[in-house]
């Protein structure tokens, strides 16, 4: 290596390849900063890493599988190692999947790791997303990171669906048939879309090779780009921080990337990989040789898709028959609504929530310290309601299995789900909001009176009192991390000014809706504390409500605290 540096002392780490590269690309200063970049320590930050490492495992095992898989529906007669299917007509896709399982060494292991990693990818994305939602990590400046995450989640669904449909076994073929039926139900263009996608009538011979290229190239390519952007944005904008002593919006505390985080995250990668390998070894998944090759004539009962498709399957099962015929055309709501509405609510809600919250709170400031879920009752209650909504749909996706295991009549299960899908989220919203406010009240007790020690003392006058110990500095910092959005001008009780004219933000139907949302977000339990020192304004004027129940009637202009800045 030629060394052209004019430095007298060439550091050893730059004397070899590093120096050669630095001579050409410069980078030493920037890469040093990257190596020293701070990574905060919190268990919940490892959820996204599970998704990232599952994706890497998927790329590795998927590449291996693609060496042996034949994406073709050409019909062959099987004479392979799995003798139970000897002489059976099947597609080359199914035959090659059998060969991967029984004739390629480590093929079965790779298939199962691939399938488990896909399930883990989706599961960890869901949990990661819930963590980010309930702690409001999506707030400015991280909205784009959030949006990319939601798109990754949606593409992951599609990628998984196409992936498990490729082997052309009986179970996945039934899934494709359902997909075709749903596409046919789309008004005006549905029939054409189905014929173009399947290259003619179902099943045809085009769908497997088409899904294959989408599954191994198109979607993974987009996912790779999106995941890269997602991770780069996390790097660039830095992690959020959990509320803690001395934690402010201005600092980030943690261990440097090199060597600490590098070692820790490598260990985590190995653990995630080991988890998928252990599952693949000891927990069989998708034994396609038991399902048999696909034929549109047959089906096995209790057919369930992979878990991440379950909520769509459940909404299809839940829907009552509803179809319109008019002017010689058919609109099948029993297919349209189950696919469009739940997916619209869940994905649309995820995409729009950060902007809805900004609109409702009027909060345009940067946020780097996460919220505690209890401190934002409306957000937390909405999130739990969405989880219940999703959960009911998901459970209904296995209504036949539930009916079987619990010995409940099948139709009863469906009727329970039909009711629960509306009632459940509403109850969950109400209960969660009450729990959040209750927890806030408990926090208020802690801040104002300290922790109950369980020590009872008798006073000279005979009265018994319990000794309270003041909260520690660390506890106090977490308790006082509450930031409540300010009420907008005009959103409170005095929605109109003295002349009865509403404030400009709250005029019109949209404005009134905004005022309602704003009041909901501003709901809180006021703490009579001098800890903040900045509780001026309405909060102080309402000192009287602090007695045991600080929750304020909605519509009151109280409960306000200064917004986080």
């Amino acid at each position: 290596m030629s060394q052209t540096s004019d430095d007298l002392d060439v550091p050893r780490s730059l004397s070899g390849l590093g120096g050669w590269l630095d001579d050409r690309f410069g980078g030493a200063r920037g890469i040093r900063l990257l190596l020293k970049k701070v990574f905060p320590d919190h268990w919940s930050f490892m959820l996204g890493e599970i998704a990232l490492y599952s994706f890497i495992i998927l790329l590795l095992t998927g590449t291996f599988l693609s060496l042996f898989f034949v994406p073709s529906t050409t019909e062959v007669v099987y004479h392979g190692s799995y003798t139970k299917l000897d002489g059976i007509r099947m597609s080359e896709a199914y035959q090659s999947t059998l060969n991967i399982s029984f004739d390629v060494r480590a093929g079965l292991l790779m298939r199962e790791i691939h399938h488990w990693a896909a399930d883990l990818f989706m599961a960890s994305i869901i949990v990661h997303m819930l963590r980010n939602f309930f702690t409001a990590a999506y707030r400015k400046p991280r909205e784009v990171t959030w949006l990319i995450g939601v798109v990754i989640f949606m593409l992951g669904l599609l990628e998984g669906l196409f992936g498990y449909s490729l082997p052309d076994d009986q179970l996945s073929g039934a899934g494709l048939r359902i997909l075709e039926g749903v596409i046919l139900g789309i008004p005006i263009v549905g029939t054409y879309a189905a014929f173009f996608l399947f290259g003619g009538q179902f099943p045809g011979s085009s769908i497997v090779p088409r899904m294959y290229i989408i599954h191994v190239l198109l979607i993974p390519g987009i996912l790779l780009a999106l995941i890269t952007a997602h991770v780069v944005f996390v790097f660039y904008q830095k992690h959020t921080a959990m509320p803690a002593k001395n934690q402010t919006d201005r600092i980030e505390t943690g261990q440097p990337f090199y060597p600490y985080f590098l070692a820790k995250t490598s260990a985590w990668f190995f653990f995630v990989f080991a988890a998928t390998a252990l599952l693949a070894t000891f927990a069989q998944i998708n034994p396609i040789w038991q399902y048999g090759p696909y034929t549109p004539v047959a089906i096995s009962s209790a057919s369930q898709p992979d878990f991440y498709m379950g909520f769509l399957e459940g909404s299809l099962r839940m829907m009552p028959a509803w179809e319109w015929n008019f002017l010689g055309h058919t609109v099948s709501f029993s297919v349209l609504i189950p696919f469009a509405v739940p997916a619209g609510i869940i994905f649309g809600g995820l995409l729009f929530w950060p902007f809805f919250e900004q609109w409702a709170t009027g909060d345009r400031s940067y946020h780097h310290v996460n919220d505690r879920p209890r401190n934002a009752p409306i957000r937390t209650a909405t999130g739990i309601a969405a989880v219940v909504f999703y959960g009911v749909l998901w459970a209904e996706g296995a209504n036949d299995v539930i009916a079987d295991y619990l010995s409940i009549p099948l139709y009863t299960v469906t009727w329970i789900a039909r009711v629960l899908v509306f009632v459940g989220p509403a109850v969950a919203f109400y209960v969660t909001r009450r729990i959040c406010l209750g927890l806030q009240r408990q926090d208020k007790e802690l801040l104002e009176h300290g922790l109950e020690t369980g020590i009872i003392r008798q006073l000279p006058n005979g009265e018994f009192v319990e000794i309270h110990r003041p909260v520690t500095e660390e506890e106090r910092a977490i308790l006082e991390a509450k930031r409540v959005p300010a009420l907008m001008p005009g959103a409170g009780a005095g929605a109109e000014d003295e002349n009865g004219v509403p404030a400009p933000q709250t005029s019109g139907a949209l404005g009134r809706a905004r005022a309602i949302a704003n009041r909901a977000f501003a709901e809180t339990v006021v703490v009579e504390t001098n800890g903040h020192g900045n509780g001026h304004g309405p909060a102080d004027e309402h000192a009287a409500v602090g007695a045991g129940h600080g929750e304020l009637p909605s519509g009151g202009g109280d409960g306000e605290e200064p917004p986080a800045s």
């Binding site: 292991l109 004539v297 089906i299 055309h329």
Partner: protein, 367 residues
């Protein structure tokens, strides 16, 4: 990673505790291993950017524990090595090509791979937790927003550039450019046209035609009413000549149900949009319905003899077989179409005609 091994290695003499906030014990000699991450760069630039107390300690927090930890880490990595070799040995040594052999191979390969990965993970974790001294750095967050003057400069230059391009000043250029891109944007959609044929009326017809025999699915044998005489049974039927044609079977698959006399109420069926009696479509209390669910097309494969309910296992649409497969529960909106039956000269069951309405899921043009 090779640099890392020098940090906190056993050859470092025992010192009491980590040294955050104190200058490094030795001058930052290049290549001493102390500044593996910083290198000489820290000496030149770092001091200006980062405060001196941000230096990493080079000593383990508990040197006495460190030696134990080092052993555990080394044993972990050794175990990973052995298990990794075990994987290769299992790959080379264990054959597949049968169910049992594959399961043995899968167990050996999966277990050795898992142990390798677990041991690597455990080793790395103990290394970072027990060997590396605890260090916590604090960074200042900078708001991503650009400085106001930079924003202004950007806006100014952008306006300058727009002016220089004449894009605003000359609307004819702007509008023709937009016009020019329209077909370009449509082309990616237009070229998808040949992905498949137009549907035409193909969803309205199946291969059933007058006189086409019903074959029993599986055996592919024709069947006479006498052979299907036990009431309560349901069998799957495929059309003669198309028993292996998946595309046609996806529409033409049929279920055959035999009833006791009087069980079968006058089944009704639609001919176009008019309701017609279809009792003359049955032969000897045998009825044929399309097996393709009118919801999203799953095969309706479950039949309950006592209630005469046909159940689709996918979404539990339930049809009453005695009344023309009318829907009694579930998301399907229409009865299963009935196939008109008769017998041919040899006494075998044959179709009297095609279905009189489209089978399978609803579609826009269905009417």
């Amino acid at each position: 990673m090779s640099d890392m091994e020098e940090i906190g290695g056993p050859e470092v003499p025992e010192r009491p505790h980590r040294v955050i906030g104190t200058p490094p014990p030795t001058p930052p000699l290049l290549g001493s291993g102390h500044e593996a991450g910083d290198g000489g760069e820290a000496a030149r630039h770092g001091a200006e950017v980062e405060p001196a107390e941000e230096r990493l300690p080079s000593e383990s927090d508990f040197p006495s524990h460190a030696n134990n930890a080092e052993k555990i880490v080394a044993w972990s990595f050794l175990l990973a090595f052995i298990a990794g070799c075990g994987f290769i040995a299992a790959y080379v040594g264990l054959e597949v090509h049968s169910l049992d052999a594959t399961l043995r191979s899968n167990l050996a390969l999966g277990f050795s791979l898992s142990v390798t990965l677990l041991a690597l993970g455990v080793g790395a974790l103990i290394w970072v937790r027990q060997l590396m001294p605890d260090a916590e750095l604090t960074e200042i967050r900078h708001d991503p927003r650009s400085a106001t003057k930079d924003r202004q400069a950007f806006a100014e230059y952008f306006a300058e550039g727009t002016g220089a391009s004449q894009f605003v000043k000359r609307p004819i250029v702007r509008r023709t450019l937009m016009l020019a891109t329209l077909p370009l944007a449509a082309i990616p959609i237009v070229v998808l046209r040949d992905m498949g044929p137009l549907p035409g009326t193909s969803l309205r017809h199946t291969v059933w035609s007058p006189g086409r025999r019903l074959l029993v699915y599986g055996t592919n044998q024709p069947i006479t009413p006498a052979e299907f005489s036990a009431p309560g049974g349901m069998i799957t039927i495929v059309p003669d000549g198309y028993q292996d044609n998946q595309d046609e079977l996806a529409k033409a698959a049929v279920i055959l149900i035999k009833f006791r006399p009087d069980e079968l109420q006058i089944p009704t069926s639609y001919n176009g949009s008019t309701l017609v009696g279809t009792m003359n479509w049955t032969v000897d209390n045998i009825v044929a319905y399309s097996k393709i669910c009118t919801h999203v097309g799953c095969p309706v494969a479950l039949y309950e003899q006592t209630t005469h309910h046909i159940l689709c296992p996918c979404h539990q649409s339930t049809f009453d077989a005695t009344t023309g497969a009318t829907v009694i529960f579930g998301p399907a909106a229409r009865p299963l179409p009935q196939l008109p039956l008769t017998t041919d000269a040899q006494g075998y069951l044959v179709a009297r005609s095609d279905f009189t309405q489209p089978v399978g899921p609803s579609f826009w043009e269905r009417g």
